[in-house]
């Protein structure tokens, strides 16, 4: 049984251990280079998990959600400017949900327009949006200062400790994004999104409010990605159009989810944890090769493990369990199907 109480207890124990390890991490590893890796890895766990709520669950692949990353960063910069927050501190973190909220408010009309179309055209429209917003960030000089960029509050911390508040803030964001993704996956709302992925018209015919669900998932993804953008902006103290509204951010969040497994809660986490350090290492040591190697790894995954790493491994584990326990009621595919196929069913 995949939903057995025993399996759930193991899951819970595993999650508890992971959380403990994440909480202790900066106490064990004080080196700033290492905690910086950790911060970006957690940031990508949050982004990929949030992206997965829309694109993994509903099948509407957005290559434009980096727009909300940018909006989040600029929102925090503009709040800081108009409220004269030049030096940051712990209180600055409190503005991050507000920046996410502003990104979500933008997501409402953008999602409403983009979701007029079905899956393939949707991808194209979202790509158009990221370029449109980058263009606006470059050209609305009065608001964004164009290519000069905007400053954010300067964090007051120094030395090796500088990273620690950011580490914990990012951990909170990652846990929240994963938690919300897990909760959506188990909810009636999430079931509706998965039904949309498989057969949208049939889902509609069964009474699933597909339009509302898709828009809600779009906005929810944007909210978390907007917060990630604001947090990254605060961490780097500056936002620029080409980095805030970066199409490569879109490719990365999609790639991580595809790598780990689209539509599963653990998939984007695995994707971010495996690929972000790889990407960082490569870009430090072999700057030119980084994108090439990253692309090849991805190609290999898409060709050899099209379902992603997590679903492939769990299917493999289930098969092994079925083979080693041929008599028990494991609910494994091969043996569960056998008796009914035995009635003489074709195909």
């Amino acid at each position: 049984m995949t939903d057995g109480a025993g399996a759930r207890r193991w899951d819970r124990a595993g999650i508890g251990l992971l959380l403990l390890a994440a909480l202790a991490f900066p106490l064990v590893f004080t080196n700033a280079a290492i905690t910086t890796y950790a911060i970006f890895t957690l940031m990508w766990v949050a982004i990929a998990s949030a992206w997965n709520i829309l694109s993994g669950f509903s099948g509407y692949v957005s290559l434009g959600h980096a727009a909300f990353y940018g909006i989040g960063g600029y929102a925090l910069a503009l709040m800081a400017e108009s409220w004269h927050l030049t030096t940051g501190g712990y209180a600055t973190f409190a503005y991050i949900p507000l920046a996410g909220f502003i990104a979500a408010v933008f997501a409402l009309p953008i999602g409403w327009i983009a979701l007029r179309t079905r899956k393939h055209s949707f991808v194209v429209i979202t790509i158009a949006f990221i370029f449109l917003l980058q263009l606006l960030a470059f050209n609305l000089q009065g608001i964004t200062a164009g290519s000069t960029g905007l400053p954010l509050p300067t964090p007051p911390w120094t030395g090796a400790f500088f990273n620690v508040p950011f580490y914990y803030a990012t951990l909170v964001l990652a846990v929240a994004a994963v938690g919300v993704a897990a909760w959506v996956r188990r909810s009636k709302f999430g079931l509706g999104l998965l039904a949309i992925r498989d057969d949208e018209d049939r889902a509609l015919g069964f009474g699933v409010p597909t339009g509302v669900y898709k828009l809600a998932a779009f906005v929810l993804s944007a909210f978390f990605i907007g917060m990630a953008g604001a947090l990254d902006g605060y961490f780097s103290s500056y936002v620029y159009p080409q980095f805030a509204f970066n199409p490569q951010t879109d490719i990365t969040m999609a790639a991580m989810s595809f790598f780990g497994g689209l539509g599963s809660v653990a998939g984007p986490i695995v994707g971010a944890v495996v690929l972000e350090p790889v990407q960082q290492l490569l870009s430090v040591n072999y700057a030119d090769l980084a994108l090439v190697v990253f692309g090849l790894v991805l190609l290999a995954v898409i060709v050899f493990l099209p379902a992603g790493v997590v679903p492939t491994l769990s299917a493999w584990a289930r098969q092994r369990a079925a083979r080693s326990a041929p008599t028990g009621e494991t609910g494994a595919p091969a043996e569960a199907l056998a008796p009914i196929r035995g009635v003489g069913e074709s195909s």
Binding site: M1, T2, D3, R186, S187, K188, F189, G190, L191, G192, L194, A195, R197, D198, D199, D201, R202, A203, L204, G205, F206, G207, V208, G263, G331, P333, A336, L337, P339, I340, R341, V343, G344, E345, S346, S347
Partner: protein, 243 residues
Amino acid sequence: MSMLEVEGVSKRFGGIQALQGCSLSVEHGSVTGLIGPNGSGKTTLFNVVTGYARPDAGTVRFEGTAIDNLPPDRILALGIGRTFQMVRIFPRLTVLENMHVPVRRQGLAGVLSGASTHEERARVLDLLRFVGLERLKNEPAGNLSFGQRRLLEIACVLMAGPRVILLDEPGGGVNPTMLRAIAGHIRELNGQGITFFVVEHNMGFVMELCHRVIVMHRGSVIAQGDPEAVRRDPAVLEAYLGE
């Protein structure tokens, strides 16, 4: 008053007149068969009745109320369920998850809470037991055989609590054993008061199960009556032989 009344319905796809002034009715509590050569408009008629296609002309009434122009989910909510000729299930959802999709919830709290409540799950398991798919409940529906998918699709439609179910070729791609099982389920459900309107090519199935048979040809009804009389009708023989 009949349960379902189709009156003068026409539907055109480009140069093809799929339905041409089609009129028929389905009685409460009956199992009514709909036969006719390929391309005679049976599936199109089902699409019009269930809101998946809009008629160019004519009306469809369900228990006296006009339903042409209503969307599919409203028509299902009124009590008309259907299956598809090519079977439409959600292949990457498990059998259990498939069964929960047609269950409606009211309000934000209902939508945001778990995908399956105790009562819902009890009903799902009852129905899965009824169609014999309980052991496969955690299996992705895409792993089922074609016949099992047909059973799952019927069980899913039953979750919506319909009073009439339109089955589009339930025997298509299904072996004789499975078809007998499906016929048994239809008979049992009909005994519980659910009306059936069934398109099927297997004549043994139609003769055995249907109280009344309607024959379509080129988008119109050319014959109707009890199964034996329809089988001997020269117009029906000609329609089939003419193809």
